[in-house]
């Protein structure tokens, strides 16, 4: 079993209303020094069998089609474990 983690974040010029709401909530709870919060998504994908280059390439390709919309989001394959 292999595992890949993909992080999807909003592009920096895109409004992140969720992050803003969390920012205000944290500030209201006394965390005064917070300057900004951006909220992102994480996909933890588990595979049957080990992960090879081909699988990684496929994930890379699908990340921009299925996991994110390149118009507003960036993605990065944060980490992977070949097997576990």
């Amino acid at each position: 079993m292999g595992r890949v983690i993909v992080d999807v974040t909003l592009k920096s010029e895109i409004l992140d209303p969720q992050g803003q709401a969390v920012l205000r909530a944290l500030q209201s709870q006394g965390l005064k020094q917070v300057a900004d919060v951006r909220q992102g998504k994480t996909f933890e994908i588990t595979f049957e069998g080990a992960i090879n280059k081909e699988v990684l390439d496929q994930v890379e390709a699908l990340a921009s089609e299925v996991l994110s919309n390149p118009v507003i989001e960036n993605f990065v394959i944060r980490s992977y474990e070949k097997e576990s």
Partner: protein
């Protein structure tokens, strides 16, 4: 380096990217002529967005002026075309304002956010008239359901319309959804919002009163959607590369909800002299329109605009289309109270300028003048094109290609089941279930009823009904007739619920104005609407034009979408879709052999040709009058208008909504196929209780009807032809969307 006015004077020959910004050479020269110098880069940014097709209506203006010229006799119109939205008197001291706007191109690129921000934009338009938004509707067009891209686009758009409206607390009371291959690469998202207020609360977008302050409030300005309006809405996809596709905007309905409540509180406390929403073209549009509609002079310090991204240039700030922002003109003595309301609702508000006694809009950046223009030249004196028009050469061929009925040998039963399951006719509850119908507690009717109906006064039970309609296949066959059929249908939908139609708005979705064939379709459409308004005696209170809806060279079907607003004095007297057992069914109006352009021709035989059904405005009015006359004695129990799919589909929808069957026979003089599927206009089905029959028949003096059958049982029985169990009809009708979409 900031390009100041001084700099522009001193360096007249600096090369400027006007072409990249979408301006034509002669338009650029005209700007130079207006200013008597080259524009600064900030001025260029303003002119380029404000003179784009989307903001300036440069190709449509010469046609739209008919709405002002062909005068409709109406005593309800209070504010006409030219403001953010028209305003009509709906009685008891109330007025209503409503408008439709398109958000087609952004919704293709980012379906959820594109559709969501479309709803957000039209709601702010209504708000800026002074009205409380009370409901939304949406008219959607997609490629065929079987196409993979439709499965990407449709769920996102529906979730976006729902996500924004639901979170804003506005009930969605209706709309329409159609499918056609021409929309595959260019879906349509037209959103309508309706708002109400008392007479004295009408607010217009103008900046008057020297010394009054200009306040920008709502969300911070970010780098999203820069140039979105000019590039997205005015250029074809084929000719634009990746670089010209700017990011779409992300909406924040939560902030918009706060903006609505705060703004209404300001109106209530009379703190606002003039107000404008920030939609396409952002601050450029708001400041130039406010100044232009007022006395003309305004100073704005652009560096005071609160930013989300400190690196934005002044040009970008001027063009940014960040959502959820408003601009208000406030007297100095009211500033404190204004700010207090913003504080309460946790909204950022900043004084960015003031009204001056000059006639120029002057914008500074850290004290340096970067814009100094006569605001009218930006907001209203944009270029006007008299584009070439030409009736397409194949239009005659198309109209001659009438469907030949005799060789179509399916059984009526098979045709009906197939029609019910087609994407266009099928049950849309997969979509409408994603919309809140109940919020605010005044929804009297929503889908699947013929029109949406909202109670506006809990004491008097006065209400409004609204319908949004368009049949692009009819418009393709004959744009003039098609447009009038669209008014007819919307008018009829409102009428059959018991409301009296009083006003209409439109959203005109077309291909490229640079294509003479498209321009012909457009000019026929506008002519038809202006004439239709006169004949129906209901004024056009506003509208919206969306051009460049095409994929490559292929235009969408000409798609005017018409919204009709009606008034009902007592919503408790409304006429619903659902009937009970043992009632008599009548067909009002005349059924003709009109199958060309029909849903039957298209969905069963994939045929589009011939001429659309005839328009008969006098009959539509009579039908409407009959229904209204019936209200007093409550002789009509249930009613449904006949449109797509004709009688067979109308009866099925009534039966399924009621959970009760019916049996009918063909008592008309047309053949059985036409009886079931013809789409002749000015018709409705009504169901009458036994003891109301005499009273009802009296009404035939106004408009004729014939008895066609009875309600009851658990099947749809067409005597001598077929009997289909409701469960089977339901299976055909309701499975289509949910089978394909998860």
């Amino acid at each position: 380096m900031i390009d100041t006015v001084k700099n522009a004077q001193e360096n007249p020959d600096t090369k400027q990217p006007f072409l990249e910004l979408g301006l034509k050479e002669d338009e650029y020269l005209k700007i130079k002529q207006i200013l008597n110098r080259r524009p600064t880069s900030a001025e260029l940014a303003m002119y380029s967005v404000m003179w784009s097709e989307h903001c300036s209506y440069k190709s449509s203006k010469v046609h739209l002026k008919q709405f002002g010229e062909k005068i409709v006799k109406s005593d309800v119109l209070m504010v006409g075309i030219g403001e953010n939205a028209g305003v009509v008197d709906i009685g008891d001291g109330w007025v209503a304002t409503f408008k439709v706007e398109s958000h087609n191109h952004p919704s293709y690129i980012e379906p959820y956010q594109g559709a969501a921000t479309g709803v957000g934009g039209i709601v702010r338009d209504i708000l800026s008239m002074g009205a409380r938004p009370i409901a939304v509707m949406d008219s959607l067009r997609f490629g065929p359901l079987s196409e993979p891209d439709t499965k990407r686009v449709l769920p996102g758009i529906v979730a976006g319309v729902g996500g924004y409206g639901n979170c804003l607390g506005l009930p969605n009371i209706g709309g329409e959804t159609q499918f056609d291959p021409s929309y595959l690469g260019n879906p349509l998202v037209n959103a309508l919002c309706v708002g109400v207020m008392k007479h004295e609360d009408i607010h217009l977008a103008k900046a008057t009163g020297v010394g009054n302050k200009v306040i920008l409030y709502g969300a911070r300005t970010g780098g999203d959607g820069i140039g979105g309006v000019s590039v997205l809405a005015s250029e074809t996809f084929a000719t634009t590369g990746q670089a010209k596709r700017p990011s779409v905007q992300v909406g924040d309905p939560f902030t918009e909800k706060l903006l609505i409540e705060a703004t209404l509180e300001m109106f209530k406390n009379k703190l606002v002299e003039g107000i404008q929403d920030l939609g396409g073209a952002g601050i450029s549009c708001a400041t130039s329109e406010l100044a232009s509609n007022g006395t003309g002079g305004m100073n704005v310090a652009l560096d005071l605009v609160p930013l989300r991204d400190e690196t934005l240039s002044p040009e970008e700030i001027l063009m940014s289309e960040s959502q959820e922002r408003m601009c208000a003109i406030v007297k100095p003595e009211n500033i404190a109270a204004f700010m207090q309301i913003c504080d309460k609702w946790e909204i950022i508000a900043t004084v960015i300028g003031e009204v001056t006694d000059g006639n120029k809009l002057v914008i500074t950046w850290h004290k340096e003048v970067i814009v100094e223009v006569p605001p009218r030249t930006v907001a209203h004196d944009g270029p006007v094109y008299n584009r070439a028009l030409k009736r397409p050469i194949n239009q005659d061929l198309l109209q001659k290609d009438s469907i030949n009925i005799s060789d179509k040998s399916n059984s009526l039963e098979t045709d009906l089941l197939k029609l019910l399951a087609s994407d266009g006719i099928s049950d849309k509850s997969w979509i409408t279930q994603q919309y809140d119908h109940f919020v605010r507690g005044n929804t009297i009717m929503s889908s699947p009823q013929d029109s949406g109906m909202i109670r506006i006064d809990e004491k008097t039970n006065r209400g409004l009904a609204l319908s949004l309609d368009g049949n692009a296949r009819f418009c393709k066959l004959d744009p003039y007739v098609g447009a009038q059929l669209a008014i007819s249908e919307a008018y009829r939908n409102v009428s059959v619920t018991g409301a009296k139609p009083i006003a209409l708005t439109n959203c005109l979705n077309f291909g490229s104005p640079e294509d003479p064939a498209v321009m012909w379709q457009f000019s026929e459409t506008v002519k038809a609407l202006a004439d239709g308004a006169v004949s129906f005696s209901i004024p056009v209170t506003g509208g919206n034009v969306s051009f460049y809806n095409q994929t490559g060279e292929i235009s969408i079907l000409p798609t005017p979408v018409i919204g009709v607003l009606g008034v009902i004095e007592d919503v408790r007297k409304r006429i619903p879709l659902r009937y009970k057992e043992n009632q008599t069914l009548y067909l009002l109006g005349e059924t003709k052999k009109e199958l060309d352009g029909s849903s039957w021709a298209w969905f069963i035989h994939n045929h589009l040709g011939g001429k659309p059904p005839q328009v008969n405005i006098e009959n539509e009015k009579k039908l409407s009058k009959l229904i209204q006359t019936s209200l007093k004695a409550k002789v009509i129990f249930a009613a449904h208008d006949l449109s797509e799919g004709g009688l067979s589909v109308a009866l099925t929808e009534m039966a399924l909504a009621s959970g009760i069957g019916l049996e009918v026979s063909n008592n008309t003089s047309v053949d059985d196929l036409s009886f079931l599927f013809s789409e002749s206009s000015a018709r409705a089905v009504v169901s009458i209780e036994e003891d109301k029959l005499p009273g009802f028949k009296e009404l035939f003096k106004i408009y004729p009807g014939i008895e066609i059958g009875k309600t009851g049982g658990s099947s749809f029985k067409f005597i001598d032809h077929f009997e289909i169990e409701l469960s089977k009809l339901k299976q055909s009708h309701s499975g289509t969307l949910s089978k394909v979409l998860v």
